[in-house]
């Protein structure tokens, strides 16, 4: 298997090629990543469904239930992100346990990745992996974030439809009013509605959405044990037509350019002469000097 065979395998939807390509994108040097993405960029057209929410509200369970239902409407692939350990860099990925049975039955491709300590709820290469899954002929890609906090909102830049999963008892109406994750949902799901306080939770979220003029954004209460109200959720996903082309493109472009700039400047900072004069100067002035000198180099080399 060299990379050309790999690309052919992706376009034919071969699971082993897709899996290996994802490993290369995650782990390898930028050269093979660029090669893979450049040759598959224009292939495929999928709806990316983002699933986000705090830890333990049932994101993986919901995916395990909804993925087989969605597969009646087209090919489904799943990408789940789990957190890496800040101490060892390792991770334990457990989302597969909640969905394995239904996946094997329907032959759905599912991949779990570690976030490799990247902030925002996704991993650095989630965009590239979504692109590979898209090129493999998927109609729906379900993207699960790590159990997110209030500020893990990167998902809204990748997903076409962002589903925020919540559960009863997570807080009062002030929590629902706060910014961050409560603003990014295209649909709000309250799981575990058999629990006490579920109607209060739905009411609080509904009221907050009405305050910010999002009357059309639905709040759906579901129960993953009896598969209650899943049909409403499914209808909403299937009938969703908005595509997020621009945000997706901008996010990736920004990431690539920033990475390039970061590498350039950090090389400069690491290799600078730290004489006593430099250390006496305040860091703001030094930073200005570095940026000015780099700008001159950039002006000369590329934009002329």
């Amino acid at each position: 298997m060299n990379i050309d065979n790999l690309i052919e395998g992706i376009l034919n939807g071969d699971n082993r090629s897709i899996a290996r390509a994802i490993s290369l994108v995650e782990n390898s040097d930028p050269v093979s990543r660029e090669r893979i993405i450049k040759s598959i960029y224009s292939a495929g057209n999928a709806k990316v469904i983002g699933i986000t929410g705090p830890p333990g509200v049932g994101k993986s369970t919901i995916i395990g239930n909804i993925a087989p239902m969605l597969s009646d409407y087209g090919k489904v692939s799943i990408l789940a992100v789990d957190p890496a350990s800040p101490f060892s860099g390792g991770s334990i990925m457990g989302n597969r346990i909640r969905m394995q049975k239904s996946l094997s039955r329907k032959g759905i491709f599912m991949r779990s990745t570690s976030n490799r300590l990247y902030n925002g709820g996704l991993s650095e290469y989630s965009w590239d992996i979504v692109k590979i899954l898209e090129a493999s002929g998927s109609d729906f890609i379900i993207l699960e974030t790590v159990g997110s906090g209030q500020s893990d909102i990167d998902i809204m830049n990748i997903a076409d439809i962002t589903c925020v999963i919540l559960a009863p008892g997570l807080g009062d109406e002030i929590q629902a009013l706060k910014s961050g994750i409560m603003e990014i949902g295209d649909v709000f799901i309250v799981n575990k509605i058999d629990r006490e306080g579920s109607y209060i939770a739905i009411k609080d979220i509904r009221e907050t959405l009405n305050l910010s003029n999002k009357i059309k954004t639905p709040v759906i209460g579901i129960n993953s044990i009896d598969i209650e109200n899943y049909d409403k959720f499914l209808d909403y996903i299937v009938n969703w037509n908005k595509k997020n082309y621009r945000e997706k493109y901008v996010r990736k472009l920004r990431q690539i350019v920033l990475e390039e700039i970061y590498n350039k400047y950090s090389y400069y900072i690491d290799n600078m002469d730290y004489t006593e004069d430099t250390l006496k100067r305040d860091p703001y002035t030094t930073a200005e000097i570095i940026i000015d000198s780099m700008n001159k180099i950039i002006d000369k080399s590329t934009y002329k």
């Binding site: 699971n15 040097d29 800040p86 860099g89 390792g90 346990i97 996946l103 991949r111």
Partner: protein, 150 residues
Amino acid sequence: MENGKNRKYTEAPIKVLLAKPAIDGHDRGIFVLARAFRDAGMDVIYAGLLPTPEEVVDTAINEDVDVIALSLLNGAHLTAFKNVIDIMNKKGVHDIAVVGGGIIPDEDKPALEKMGITGNFGPGTPLKIIIDHIKKRAREIRKLRENEYR
């Protein structure tokens, strides 16, 4: 090597699938291993209780793991481990290492080694020995794979 900043394929975290491919609910040992492997900087996937051998191989292919670590404490290792190897051979998967563990009598070990299942550690084995063995097998697999893409 800085955590989370790996760029070379051979140096990226080792990916391990932990599985108990038969009717066996004793998962305390496998939890201890999962934690130990995570603390050793590996990406660990646990297949959950009662997966079929087909599901184990399916998971291993989808996740593109380097090592499948099989554990059984009920004495069915010669049948269950062999099922996993057979399905892998049928699907043409030759670039994933398989290691074993559990209650495995010494006289069964040669048969398992012959199938390509190494390690076969019993209770009381120091975690360091298991981790070193997994790292060794993963390095072999990574070498094998790296040459495919040059």
